[in-house]
């Protein structure tokens, strides 16, 4: 008995060490870049900064913050997150509520459901989609980044599944009291779905913030780039730039400048993430596991 007890403790010790090591592995690379970004340019370029800053200074941030290009991109991303997040939220709720009704109760539901799911199964592909956006003259407007993804099908499904689990008696009682569907939706279903609404809104806001490929293809003018597209272009050109030829690019692509831009571009997520974490775990589990 005693021997077995000790073996358990050995396993526990090892397990805690492994878990701690694995979680540090997820943090340390980001931490390292953050430390490079607040170190002096000399130590950064000599690759001698580890996990603590050397010659601490914020000059790389000061340089980046003076760059109009960076602020343009930051502004585009900010606007995109607000407008896109709002539109995603509205359309998700508007579509999920009727689709959460039983087919016998809401005729036509299954047609809508299939039209929705089919877009997840089959798509026109990159070129035809690009041509539609082009035909509609959305190129170089913020709407090219917002409207094509305005209906987040996966989020709608998550919310439908959540709403279907809410007790039907709530709706029946309100109907008996003479409440119209609008009231039932906004006063009962939406408030009760707050955990899943928080989850899908987090997904869509993070998605909008992190999105870069649509910016790359739908924006011709670099001042219309969202932040991640701008960063992608800077990072992609870091190996190509000759300092003598292009001083503007070179000032963006030295190691401390790159590190500062990486950290600034991830900062909003690093800030909101701890607050929203408890919502998404709850929301995912409740929306995806069915009875």
């Amino acid at each position: 008995m005693r021997i077995r007890l000790q073996r358990f403790q050995a396993f526990d010790m090892l397990n805690y060490v492994v878990l701690a090591a694995v979680s540090l592995l997820c943090l340390v690379p980001i931490w390292h870049i953050a430390m490079v970004s607040i170190s002096g340019e000399g130590p950064a370029n000599q690759y001698i900064v580890g996990l603590i800053p050397i010659e601490f200074n914020l000059s790389s941030y000061a340089n980046i913050l003076r760059l109009d290009k960076f602020w343009d991109a930051f502004g585009v991303s900010g606007l995109r997150v607000v407008l896109g997040g709002l539109l995603n939220f509205l359309l998700t709720v508007m579509m999920a509520y009727p689709l959460s009704k039983e087919s016998s109760y809401f005729k036509g539901r299954s047609v809508y459901v299939w039209a929705l799911v089919f877009t997840m199964l089959f798509s026109g592909g990159l070129i035809p989609t690009y041509m539609i956006i082009n035909e509609l003259h959305l190129i170089d407007t913020i709407w090219a980044l917002i409207i094509p993804g305005a209906v987040p099908v996966f989020n709608v499904i998550l919310m439908v599944n959540f709403m279907r689990q809410l007790p039907k008696e709530l709706e029946e009682a309100s109907l008996v009291d003479g409440a119209p569907q609008w009231t039932i939706m906004t006063r009962i279903y939406v408030p009760l779905s707050l955990p899943v609404i928080a989850t899908v809104t987090l997904f869509s806001v993070v998605g909008h913030w992190n999105s870069w490929f649509d910016g790359l293809i739908y924006m011709n003018q670099t001042e219309n780039y969202p932040l991640q597209t701008y960063l992608h272009v800077v990072l992609a050109s870091r190996n190509l730039v000759n300092a003598d030829e292009n001083s503007v690019m070179a000032s963006l692509t030295n190691r401390s400048a790159i590190s500062a831009q990486i950290i600034l571009a991830s900062l909003p997520i690093l800030i909101v993430y701890p607050f929203l974490q408890r919502f998404f775990i709850h929301g995912i589990v409740m929306g995806s596991v069915k009875e």
């Binding site: 035809p128 539609i132 995912i284």
Partner: protein, 298 residues
Amino acid sequence: MKITRKDRAFFHLLLAPGMLILFVFAYLPMVGIVIAFQEFNPTKGFLFSEWVGLEHIRFLFELPDTMQTVRNTVEISLMKIAAGLLVPIVFALLLNEARIVWFKRTVQSLVYLPHFLSWVILGGILIDVLSINGGAFNQALGTLGIQPIFFFGNEAWFRVMLIATDVWKEFGFSTIVYLAALTGINPALYEAASIDGASRWQRVVYITLPGILPVVVLMSTLSLGNVLNGGFDQIFNLYNPMVISSADIIDTYIYRMGLIQAQYGLATAIGLLKSLIGFALIVTSYRLAYRYANYRIF
């Protein structure tokens, strides 16, 4: 329950804007697929461009790049799927054995983090950290006496890095579903097993693993639908001309053919083939998931 005509009209009204957007941005592009069968000329538009039938598709099968790209895509995604299933399960089991609550919470917060950062940001970090010229990881290997490795400049290592960094980004987030399954196991089973003298290992093998098996089956069947997606965001942000022949996947190929080289008909033809095979794969995986794990989307 009775439903009035007004209620039904309200439901249709709520669905109308979303359906209109889906029609324009998801269904209209499906019509645009016709340019896969045309010598597309942007000034004439797809109504008046010249039809070439299956010419592009025939040409695709003759191009050596196409087959290489398809092979790369399938190899990369199969390896990602295998690693992406195994690592989160093992991690969830280990985390489940940890009893200190604050420790568990901290670990979870840290491992979810990379999931929320874009591949642009992570690509920037990883290329720096794994660089051969003084990258932190190579420096750490150096202290162990290992020569610096050019992780992103060598075809074999590049593949390994694609799998490793994909697992690194997503394993934490993927554990959520397994942790949820673990909390669903009846604790009385563990008590009964302990009383019968089952060791910790035996409890894992005979209670925990069978307990999460349905979720494992579900996740593996659903992942089948992803075989033609090698991970465009990741590869596009990490690859370079040195590794292009082993890292080029269908999506990066379509991007280069279509938007860089303006071969609209050819790129759309590849996209069409990808969509068709992808459709078959997703439908199959949903069927299997329904059959073996009783999973339904709605």
